[in-house]
């Protein structure tokens, strides 16, 4: 199991919903990989502009766009369509919520696979977000991540 050459920390994404109280900001429905580029540019526009709530830090926007790309790719690859990416926020956090309709699949971050064989997307999500989690509800599986909203000056 333990491979000394494997740099990854073996971990499991906690099964828990995010805290309540987030307000929906935007939503994208993806049918295939070719729509990921549109998702990223549109998401960057929303987060980068602050959507009327002030201007978000560039760095946070880049992280959110990257993690959205990672989680949506996983959903398209491993989940059942359609893949839905939702952006929500509260006073202090952005919430990225990626849904698919495979309630049986368990998202894992693991070091058992050699580099280049998967598991990297969630690893990146874990390391660049404040919190990551997943849960199922009815016919959907949610994988979510939160990011701190930059303080307005």
């Amino acid at each position: 199991m333990d491979d000394a050459a494997t740099p990854f920390i073996v971990s499991r994404v906690p099964m828990a919903p995010p805290e309540p109280g987030f307000t929906p900001v935007a939503e994208w429905v993806l049918a295939d990989y070719d729509q990921l580029s549109r998702l990223r540019s549109s998401l960057a526009g929303v987060v980068g502009s602050g959507d009327g709530a002030g201007t978000e830090m560039h760095d946070t926007a880049e992280k959110i766009v990257l993690i959205a790309s990672e989680l949506a790719t996983n959903a398209l690859l491993h989940g059942l369509p359609p893949t839905v990416v939702r952006l929500l926020r509260n006073a202090h956090s952005w919430l990225l919520d990626v849904l698919d309709h495979d309630v049986a699949g368990v998202p894992t971050v693991d070091g058992d696979r050699p580099p280049g064989h998967g598991g990297l997307g969630l690893l990146i999500a874990e390391r660049l977000s404040a919190e990551v989690g997943w849960y199922t509800s009815d016919a959907t599986k949610h994988v979510w991540a939160t990011f701190p909203v930059a303080q307005q000056g």
């Binding site: 740099p7 990257l66 790309s69 790719t73 398209l76 580099p115 280049g116 990146i124 660049l128």
Partner: protein, 109 residues
């Protein structure tokens, strides 16, 4: 938008891969076979100067350009690409070179 958000070409008789734009799973699937066809047992030089985005699917594509002994030589990697390599603990699996002073790569013809 359109579907050509990113892409790759094989240059220098197969020694160099030139990537541009957004390197994600869509691009990786589109160009993967062509890049793999150039594999010849030597690590590739990969020109990343015109890459604007790269996620873990793109990272996997880069790793294809390495061998068991030597990682691919990433030329002109933008900061975000370096950050992903570091975040995933794959520094040992690639080599970095600045765009200037590196072996000449296929630029503007």
């Amino acid at each position: 938008m359109d579907h050509s958000s990113g892409g790759a070409t094989v240059e220098d008789q197969g020694d160099t891969w030139v990537l541009w734009g957004e390197i994600d799973v869509a691009v990786a699937q589109r160009v993967g076979d062509e890049l793999k066809a150039s594999l010849d047992g030597s690590p590739k030089s990969i020109d990343l100067r015109r890459v604007t985005f790269l996620d873990s699917s793109g990272l996997r594509l880069l790793l294809l350009g390495g061998t068991a002994e030597r990682g691919p030589l990433l030329i002109g990697a933008p900061p975000a690409v370096r950050e992903i390599v570091t975040l995933t603990g794959l520094e040992h699996a690639v080599r970095f070179a600045e765009a200037d002073g590196a072996a000449p790569v296929g630029g503007d013809a």
